[in-house]
Amino acid sequence: MIGAQGVWLGTARVRLLTAAALFTAGLPPVLDRDLSWLGSWKKALDQGTFSITTLGPVAAGIACVVYVRLRRSGVPDLLSQARRPWLGWLAPALGVWALASAAVLLICALTTTAAWAAGAHTYPELFWVVPPALAVLGAEVSIGAMMGSRIGHYWAAPWAAVSVFTLFILSSVGVVPGVFRTGGTSGSLSAETFAIHPIAAQAVAALGLGVAVMALSHWDLFRTSSTVHRGMCAVLVAAAIPALFRLHSDSDERYVSSSVEYECRDGQPTVCMLEETTRPLDDLAARMQRLAGPLVAAGVALPARFVQKLPGDSNLDEGSVRLFADEELGATVTDETAARSLAQPADCPAYSSDSPEDLPEVVFTIDRVLTHWILVQDGQASAPTEGGLADWWALPAEDQHPWVRTTYDALSDCRLNALRLPQ
């Protein structure tokens, strides 16, 4: 006996092809230009659930086709005679949802495995975000099923897909509650994790919405279903209402700060990055330790550790690893990135101050000069021959050392008002 959920989904071959099509439909949001999620397991997981952005509309279109087929068959009249009319009606939608869920799970498994293989630290306990995403997928499938059932024409399928994608867009921009938004963070999720309450609210809202939509898709069958089924559906719909309100408020932030763990590479200096994004750590540490040579030769006192900076944090005793988002997630960094980090030996409060008076403008110029000086000493860049500092750049290195020492000491002590450009 063929599984009841699969009865309306075609032959085994068709079901396999459907699953393959759903998997393929979910890939475009995952295969972004540079696969940056390889650098963060959390982001890889988030990106896996983001596949629902395109996979969901396709699943809705497929559900629409299946329910057009079911409605046109005349079998719904037989469903009303069934002991389990509601389950009989739900079964094809559950079948589509199961195929789509398998595709999402496979994509999530692939992204997280790839991130793990690329060296990212894993957080398997965070897989709990996948079931809520699958609940969203269920709601999307139910919309397709309802459109197919109500409209009864195959041309409704593309409209079902477009409608679901539109709901995703509207959810993402906040026009409607964020029920249909899954994944897609632009950050690295380092020192962050998934927020339980908004995502749980999203799951409840999606389940309630899905159940309500399926009930509307064939109200007569729902009405004649068992009291237990109707009761369960009513509870889900009732729970969805406050969840929708919660998602519509400002408190629907899906990511929250998490405990911070670092991974370090010992050396001179020791370089530490957040545990989530250690993919470029080896390369960064090697470059920073090599580029530290000219600074040591100049007689500066390097901080013992350079640590990846967290927004809002300040630490006077440690240097800052300063990375842009793509560098944080990349496999390697550039010498300029390493030099830029070496040029900030302390994470002064002024750097994250809201008041412009706390941060003299000269700091930015000095940051660029010091970074460039390190690269010039390592032979990675040439000294400028033009501009206001051309004379200083032309001096022998030994003559530049006093300015480097003085400047580095001031930066280390956060005496930013004491900073001066080379004379």
Binding site: M1, I2, A4, V7, W8, G10, T11, V14, R69, R72, S73, G74, V75, P76, D77, L78, L79, S80, Q81, A82, R83, R84, P85, G88, D220, T224, S226
Partner: protein, 242 residues
């Protein structure tokens, strides 16, 4: 087995009832349901099948309200063969019946035997493992009949079971109906008066949603069928007088 309708009113538009039946009681045995296109036969059959809630009135099966609290139990006693039904073409005959057994919650230990019996009853035993898309039109009608029989119903509702069949196939379906348990109430609609006259013991003539005649088929033909006792003429006379 008795099916009784009381004050039943079915409509798709509030101002235009499709079926209006004050009182009608159907008892065990084959019953013919005749009427012109649009007379309300399919609506009535769907209402009796539990697939369409009437706007007003009650339908009882052996005293139990079909649309009452015991609906799910009552409906289990009814088998329904819709006028048009298209099972997924990729399923085999056995898979279709297995699916219906699942829907009707026939215990798995008996589902296989009941499916085999239904297939045997409609003469599709040699096609049990054939995909339904490969069945002829007549065989598909017989499969629909098997689907209605699979839960061993005590009320069997057949909507135009012989439509689209050739004379030999029609005779086959008539034979199946004639061989059904006599305790079973079989309500069969048809345009073909010959089928009705040869199979049924009583007849319901429906015209514009209203019952114009209900009684023994033989009396109906004798009273309205003219000197040649033509069932066709009896029907035409009845609806012309309405």
């Amino acid at each position: 087995m008795t099916v009784a309708l009381s004050g039943v009113r079915c409509s798709y538009r509030l101002d235009r009832p499709v079926v209006t039946i004050d009182e009608l009681e159907l008892t065990a045995g084959p019953v013919g349901l005749v009427g012109v296109n649009g007379a309300g036969k399919t609506t009535l059959l769907r209402t009796l099948a539990g697939a369409r809630t009437p706007q007003d009135g009650t339908v009882t099966v052996d005293g139990d309200d079909l649309y009452g609290p015991r609906r799910r139990r009552v409906v289990q006693t009814i088998g329904y063969m819709p006028q048009e039904i298209q099972f997924p073409g990729e399923l085999t005959v056995t898979q279709v019946l297995g699916y219906l057994c699942w829907l009707r919650r026939v215990p798995s230990r008996t589902a296989k035997a009941q499916s085999a019996e239904a297939v045997e009853a409609v003469g599709l035993a040699d096609r049990a493992h054939q995909q339904t898309r490969r069945l002829s039109g007549g065989m598909r009608r017989r499969l629909a009949l098997a689907a209605a029989l699979v839960n061993e119903p005590r009320v069997l509702l057949l909507d135009e079971p012989t439509t689209g069949l050739d004379p030999e196939q029609r005779a086959g379906v008539r034979e199946i109906i004639a061989n059904l348990d006599s305790r079973c109430l079989v309500l069969m609609s048809s345009h073909v008066m010959e089928d009705i006259a040869s199979v049924t013991s009583s007849i319901v003539v429906l015209h514009e949603g209203v019952v114009r005649y209900h009684g023994a088929t033989s009396s109906f033909v004798a009273a309205h069928g003219g000197p040649n006792r033509s069932a066709e003429l009896a029907f035409l006379t009845t609806i012309a007088d309405a």
